[in-house]
Symmetry: C2
Subunit: 220 residues, 2 copies
């Protein structure tokens, strides 16, 4: 548990009493790839500080369609899984483990208690929220003004960088869930990309065959 402090930002700005409270209340959690970490507003487990792995935050429409909001990586703090710490957080978000993930769970009540008395922690929390806000503003810009083909090109390049491979094991449906687009649209677009020589499709995989062309496509 002592390891927590090496991952927790601004740890040294907390008093030793505050540090002790966080340490005593926190717990290590393991999530398998695909497991749901947090499910909507009524669920207020606590904050997750990621030790290793990858989380995806997304929303779901009434009809069950998904769109990815942002992702969280090592040393990131997942704030909205503790939405009850602020009454102004009034939206549903789902968080799933995209890779096997190790994280510390800091209970919402403990974090809230320390944040209420610690200006450094409250200010740090502000920075976390501003950072997610920037992600979401970027997303609005994308869905409002960029065509789906450019967003698809960008998504493929991002995935390839995250997975460190040019051969992605991903279905058209999963891509659709990231982009908030129907599977059929993704399939049509990927076939078009294949004709343009940018990807090569086979069952369950998308291989990026011309990264430069994809990059230009995204920036066009």
């Amino acid at each position: 548990m002592m390891e927590l402090k090496e991952y927790f930002p601004m740890w040294e700005k907390l008093t030793s009493a505050q540090q002790a409270r966080l340490l005593a209340a926190s717990d290590k959690r393991h999530f398998e790839r695909g497991q749901i970490v947090h499910n909507g507003l009524t669920d207020c487990t606590g904050l997750f500080l990621i030790r290793s792995g990858q989380l995806r935050a997304y929303t779901i429409s009434e009809e069950g369609r998904e769109i990815t909001m942002y992702r969280l990586f090592e040393r990131d703090i997942c704030l909205f899984s503790a939405s009850c710490i602020m009454r102004s957080i009034q939206f549903d978000i789902v968080i799933e483990a995209e890779k096997d993930t190790e994280a510390w769970l800091i209970p919402a009540e403990t974090y809230k208690g320390v944040m209420e008395e610690s200006a450094p922690l409250a200010n740090y929390t502000n920075e976390i929220m501003a950072s997610r806000f920037s992600d979401v503003m970027w997303l609005i810009d994308q869905i409002m003004w960029k065509s789906v083909d450019r967003r698809l090109a960008n998504f493929l390049l991002e995935e390839s960088a995250l997975e460190n491979t040019s051969r992605l094991n991903i279905t058209h449906e999963v891509i659709g869930n990231h982009l908030g687009t129907a599977r059929e649209v993704v399939t049509r677009m990927l076939r078009y990309f294949q004709n343009e020589g940018m990807v090569k499709l086979s069952r369950g995989t998308v291989e990026l065959t011309d990264m430069d062309k994809l990059r230009n496509w995204n920036n066009k």
Copy 2:
């Protein structure tokens, strides 16, 4: 200037030294309807605490198209006009006065200084940001999953409630800028609404003639 404290939330949770700093640095500002209050990231005037009037926050695409993010009213604090107080705020937003507006300007540096030492102010700032975050998440839900006709019906009802009239003085282009939609699309949709008996169009005005039907349209 003493009036500021009656509008500033959680004023009594600040120390008298902090109160004095905020009072000494703050200034009253007047904006005419249509005036730009804040223009993008490089502009970091400070926070505006609204005494009366109405502000609109929106973003602009590279091609100059607009979409409204949220609005601010009496007693609201406009935080992102002081984007430099947090380094994680990485997006451009434009804020304009939608009505003649009186506001206190609190310089960014002063606010930041007090926030860094005051847990109550930092926590309050968190609540402001969470509230805007909720607005923006609502917007994503709208633009992703709701058709433009439903968003238009909702917008007309909202405008009518804000202006307290069923006869809106608004052009199709301005409506398009709120919704992030081309003027032509708005015109087509409004004509359709007119045929359905929900609105009556004349030069520069949209009159809502069947509120119930508009409400059902929005919820359908």
